[in-house]
Symmetry: C2
């Protein structure tokens, strides 16, 4: 069924008013009065609607039912990644949104090859990728894409969550499954993964001292754009959000 995001304020008294680009989209999809669609308030609530009127400028729909979006996981996960090169960030955003992330934040750290001169310039494009992926995968929110500054900023954000994982390739680490099996009920979590070259040892040490779980994901070396999606999937699986 067609899904649209809109501000909750456009729904009043059992009627939804669809304007602008979304009204055009209703026309592009050739939706006719009498057909059903879902309007999502972007906060996790779905309005199941039936189309009443569809003009180029405006469409109107009758609200049939208001439900919590079933695609939203019970755990809000912040995915924090060392900024990668090229279009790998696009990939991380798209796949993390599909896999259920609440937000995706990039940061600068020791081995980042990509140097974020003006990351805010990229945010608009990144946010569009998140919005497209959210629509396509049936999410109830549009995950936010942002810039977390440096590793200290990322650690600070992660420490505010019930569970903070720092994925690291070598040395002293906790097995991911042991940590996750003790965390099945968490409501907020953060996953930190590195850029192309991974993290320096001092960065992992800092994460550990700060109180994060420094974890391994097995002996296979994952690319920097693969690691966040694999970690997020494991977390979703462990918390019962993949069934």
């Amino acid at each position: 069924m067609a899904r649209f995001f809109m501000a909750g304020t456009n729904i009043h008294g059992g009627r939804a008013i669809i304007k602008g680009r979304d009204a055009e989209h209703v026309q592009v999809l050739r939706l006719r009065p009498g057909e059903d669609l879902v309007i999502c308030d972007g906060q996790g609530t779905d309005y199941k609607c039936r189309l009443v009127k569809a003009d180029r400028e405006q469409a109107e729909a009758e609200v049939l039912e208001v439900v919590r979006c079933p695609a939203e996981p019970t755990v809000k996960v912040s995915v924090l990644c060392g900024l990668p090169k090229g279009d790998r960030s696009d990939y991380i955003i798209q796949k993390s949104v599909e896999a259920g992330a609440e937000e995706i934040l990039f940061f600068d750290c020791a081995r980042c090859i990509a140097k974020p001169d003006k990351p805010e310039k990229k945010l608009e494009r990144w946010q569009r990728i998140a919005e497209e992926a959210a629509k396509q995968s049936g999410r109830g929110i549009i995950p936010q894409v942002g810039w977390a500054g440096d590793l200290a900023g990322a650690l600070d954000l992660a420490l505010k969550k019930e569970l903070g994982l720092f994925l690291y390739e070598t040395g002293e680490r906790e097995p991911l499954d042991r940590v996750l099996e003790a965390s099945r009920q968490v409501r907020t979590a953060a996953l930190i993964t590195g850029p192309e070259g991974g993290f320096e040892k001092f960065e992992a040490d800092l994460a550990r001292i700060a109180g994060l779980h420094v974890c391994s994901m097995g002996e296979r070396i994952l690319r920097c754009e693969t690691a966040p999606v694999v970690a997020l999937t494991a977390l979703m699986y462990a918390t019962g959000n993949l069934s």
Copy 2:
């Protein structure tokens, strides 16, 4: 540490002889006598070696230790995917190899948009992608990429495994976690995922009748190139191969 794949027969009496493209690669990496490298027989065994000689045509290394490659999972997973469009197959291959697949096979089915005129033409390129990903992620084998024909061929292959999962987006399905938690000890498994438009109902019915587990992965709709990697990650996690 640098990793090379080679036929096991090139190792005799504690000496490894590296020829051809791999000998050139030793030079490109500027490895010098006295430096260590790993030579993998492609069957899951790693030969930890020290370089003795490095010429353009041939390099020689002394075998220090022979170990089972720690990156190889305990479960051999066949990833079977409805052939997707464009470069999505490349992506599925690369990520499935990183995530631990034993083999990746494509097949034709009802909603395939990509029509495989001569899939065998693609196999050589696909196999190179698998080899590169295997080297990069430290795998002990080079997963094979192949063509499984049609859905019947894919079902037949899946039924030969201890565990066969058919990932499907709607209707009657078993929760993935319930199936996987009952299958923690499996040694062979197959995952079947659909092309861009997913599967037709009759295809899912056929899989169920044949004896596969028709499973859901939650309410988020995953792209055809994301689903295999998510399913594989969940299986690796559940069988203790992600820690």
